[in-house]
Each structure stands twice: as C-alpha cells, then as structure tokens.
Amino acid sequence: MDISLQQVSYAYAKDTPFEKRALYDVDLLIPSGSYQAIIGHTGSGKSTVLQHLNALLKPTEGVIRIGGTEVVAGKKNKKLREIRQKVGIVFQFPEHQLFDETVLKDIMFGPMNFGVPEEEARQRAIELVRLLGLPEEVMEKSPFDLSGGQMRRVAIAGVLAMNPEVLVLDEPTAGLDPRGRKEIMDLFYKLHIEKGLTTILVTHSMEDAARYADRIAIMHNGRCVLQGIPKEIFSDEDRLMDYRLELPQSIKFQKKLEEMMNKKLPSLCLTEEALAEELARLLKKEREI
C-alpha cells in the first residue's frame, strides 16, 4: 500500500485565535513495502505527520493517499474505518492504552471491534503472545501485573492483531533497556521482511534510522526538508547540524578515523558491524602491500 502526502499543511485549532501551524507543504512518498524513517528534533512536526497516516488528523490543505483511499482537505471521507484497520500505529508508550482484564482480551479487542469472530481473534492473540516472546502464563494475567517491557509487548501485539499492512512506530523503544530495545527493533524488522509490511519509524535515534531504514525523511519546523537513502542523508553533517540532528555514532567514528588515516573508506558505514568489517578489510590490504 503506497502512502503519499502531497502539499499537506496542517494547523491546530484552525480559524481560532489559538491557530498554530504545524505542517507546511509536506510532500512525502512512501512506496509499498519500504522501511521509511522520519527523523527531526522535538517539535519538528514528526508526530503531526504520523497522525495523518491513518487520518487521525486530516490535512487543512493538500491530499493524502493511503492505498486507494484519498483524504482531501475539507472533504468528508467514509472509508476511514478501512484505513484505520490497514494502518496500525504503535504510539509512544503504547502500554498506557492497555485497559482490559487479561492480556488475551486486550489483544483481541481491536480485531473483534472490526468484526473478527472471537475464536479467530483468540488464535491470533495466542500466536502474537508467542511471537513477541512473552511467557505463555501471562495470557490470562492482568496486563497491569506485568513488567514495563512486557506491557509494551502486549500493547504492540494489540496493534499487530489487526493484521495491518502498514505499521507506524512512534519511538517504539523509549524507556526500554538496551536488550529490550534491540529485541523489539529486530522483531519489527523481521515482521517488515516476512510480512512485506510498509514500516514507518518516527525516531530520535540516528542509529536506528541508519540501521533499519531504506529511506529517511527529515522534518524541521513543520517542513519536510530532506529525503533520501541513509547514505545520502548522513553524508552531509553540516546540513544535519542545521536541523539540530547528529550523525549516527558509527559514522562519527568513521569520520574520526578517516581524519587520522588521512584517507577515506570506500563507503559510509551505517552500522558498527559494517564499519568493523570495512576497517578489517582495509588493514588486511595494507599488510599485503
């Protein structure tokens, strides 16, 4: 499902004295099956874009296409329900939305709300509990008796239970410990590949954007100021600084090394692993000469 934003602007509290423009003429094309990261400092408009992706907010100007459905400024749209089933959003701290008596019931709530029969919803929920690496005994427990990391997984399962085609992630690992962070990000990547999802990650982490995304868009003061593949985006440090962003640590380190060696590595290394390999290769070559 392709998603496109064309000349999208948004103002909070439009036509009131409190009107505040949050987006200006945003153009963004997210091809079906791609992994798109949206980065930008706090208040840059990332989260406002995100809320447009399943029509929680509707543009005050411009057009959004989500698959075959159009959301046009100023027009009513009857197909929003369909969009909301196909585009799953994992909000920041999604565990704050847990509410049901048991973990299984909480995960089943979404699909049943959309007319999935109870037994099928239960089966999906059980599969998801396993997929997310939660211990089986939590299924009949209250979600509120779980640890923070487990609650996060239950909330994510609730979104996945809708079988979305597009998964939108807003800082999905905020507050998790390093292992939990890696496990959850790797899981999203696995789902992205195995299920052919379109994944949209809104993040502060340049490392995650570099590691996982096919494409990156930078938001700054309500505008989408730069789009491209990670290697392009991270090749211009000065520009990133203008947008109050930084390079991922591995690239910063690569630059330090290049300065010391007075020579460039063949390409920009987006992860620590890639950098270690590239360096080892270079050293081997030097020895052979």
């Binding site: 400092h41 706090t42 507050g175 410990d177 340049m206």
Partner: protein, 282 residues
C-alpha cells in the same frame, strides 16, 4: 573523607508483602553515596532502579534495613525536611510543569516553601542563569524543546538549593542534542557547587560521565565501581540486558574481525589512538 549523603544498609523492599512467592523488588542492597559524587544507577527494566529512587526520597520505606540521609535514618518525621534537600527531575518533560511561564514554574517550589518574594526572584534568576535559560524566563513551557524543558526542570530543582539532584531517566525521551544539553548542564553545575548527582539511566554514555556506577540486576546490587571498572566486565553486562559504551562495542567487533588491539577501549580517543599506533603509523 567526604561526608556521607545517602546510605542504604541491607535494604529489602517488596511491593506485595503478603505474597512470599514474589521476588522482592529490592533485595539486601547496601551502598553509600558521598557528598559531591555523581553516581549512575544502571540496570535492565525491572531491575529495581526506580524502586531505589523511591526509597531514597521516602516515597517508599523498606521492610528491612535502613535508608540514611545526611547520616539520619529516613522516617516520617524528617521526610519533608529531607525532600526539600533533594531535587528530582523525571523522564517525561511534559509531566512536570505547573507554571504558565518558565519563571513561574521555577518559582513554584520556592513559593510552596515560603521563601520571601525578594529572595525568590533572586533565586529564580540565578537558577535559570545556571542552566542557561534566562532568555526564556517569560516563555510558555510547552513552546520549549525537550532539552530546554528538562533544563527548566533542573532549574526548578536547584532553586531550592538541594544537596542532591536525582535524575530519573531524565534524558531518555530527548533528542540527541537535548540529551547533550542536559548532561552539559549537570556537568557545569557540579563544577560550581558540591551538588551530589544520582542519575538513573539506560544510557551507557551518560553512565560513563559519572564518578561511580552501580549496576542493579533483579533487585540486587550486581556490581559497583568506576565506569572503567564496571564496563571492563564486558559480556557479563550484555548478559544482564545492558549494553556497552560505543567504543567498547567497536573494539569487540574489530577484534572479532581479527584486528589486534591492546584492549577493549572505553573511549573513542583511546581506540583511535590504538588503531593509529598499532596499525597505521608503521
């Protein structure tokens, strides 16, 4: 010898007192934090870090063991007095604003503590200057960036002239620049005062800045020492669900690729220098 500020002795705490099947949130933990120290407490989710914070500020009391603050056992009588000496900054910058403007917000706790008006104005100005937010005195808090909000929160905390500043994952929701701003602010504050800083964090780079690191695991104190001593444990920490500082990870990855290094390096400078002297400068 520096004065003791906070000391825990064989502290055990459980949230579910009646249920003996449940592992206590904190089990037999002892440590002492001295005046002027910066101590980072790290550990996986559920390791007991936040419970420790609540035990140190008297939101919770241990079932066994003692918590001593400024040498006195913490109890219901001295609780309020103690809390006024401890400034706290929490994770979510949006959850801790009460004032309509930045200066109102910083003044809030002072007003609550009955500080006379003239002195209050002085302290608000001084605190905002210390976190470099004087230019934003009349701004509305929600117009600030995350890093700026947390700096205002720090100003609010230090306006009370506390002896201790407790940062409970205060940088975890910030963008990289915001995080840098907050850590820089803490660093500067410590240069000027004898402030004791306790930071509860998942951020290993933040822990590297501390004088001492306490590692929590499943409610127990797993290790303590200088960042260097603690991170030297390498794989052990990864097994606990933690991570290593960037330079250490990089060192380990390079070795795995057959690149010889003198050691797993803690800082990027050390690693760059090692690579230079042993491989390039020949």
């Amino acid at each position: 010898m520096k004065r003791e500020i906070i000391s825990l002795q064989e502290v055990t705490f459980t949230y579910a007192e009646e249920d003996i099947g449940i592992r206590p949130a904190i089990q037999n933990v002892s440590y002492t934090i001295n005046e002027g120290e910066w101590v980072a407490i790290v550990g996986h989710n559920g390791s007991g870090k936040s419970t420790l914070a609540r035990l140190m500020n008297g939101l919770l009391f241990p079932q066994t063991g003692t918590v001593r603050i400024f040498g006195e056992p913490l109890n219901e009588h001295n609780l309020w007095d103690t809390r006024s000496k401890m400034g706290m900054v929490f994770q979510n910058p949006d959850n801790q604003f009460v004032g309509a403007t930045v200066q109102d917000d910083v003044a809030f706790a002072l007003e609550n503590n009955g500080i006379p008006f003239e002195e209050m104005v002085e302290r608000v100005h001084a605190s905002l200057a210390k976190v470099k937010m004087s230019d934003f005195m009349n701004s509305e808090p929600h117009h600030l960036s995350g890093g700026q909000k947390q700096r205002v929160a720090i100003a609010g905390a230090i306006a009370l002239q506390p002896s201790i500043l407790l940062l409970d994952e205060a940088t975890s929701m910030l963008d990289p620049q915001g995080r840098e701003e907050v850590l820089q602010t803490v660093h500067e504050l410590r240069k000027e005062t004898d402030l004791t800083v306790i930071s509860i964090t998942h951020d290993l780079e933040e822990a590297l800045l501390a004088d001492r690191v306490i590692v929590m695991n499943q409610g127990e104190k797993y290790a303590t020492g200088s960042p260097h001593e603690v991170f030297e444990r390498g794989q052990e920490l990864i097994d606990l669900g933690l991570d290593l500082p960037f330079a250490m990870n990089m060192s380990r990855l390079l070795r795995a690729q057959g690149v010889q290094l003198v050691a797993d390096h803690m800082s990027e400078e050390e690693l760059v220098n090692d690579l230079w002297t042993s491989h390039f400068n020949k």
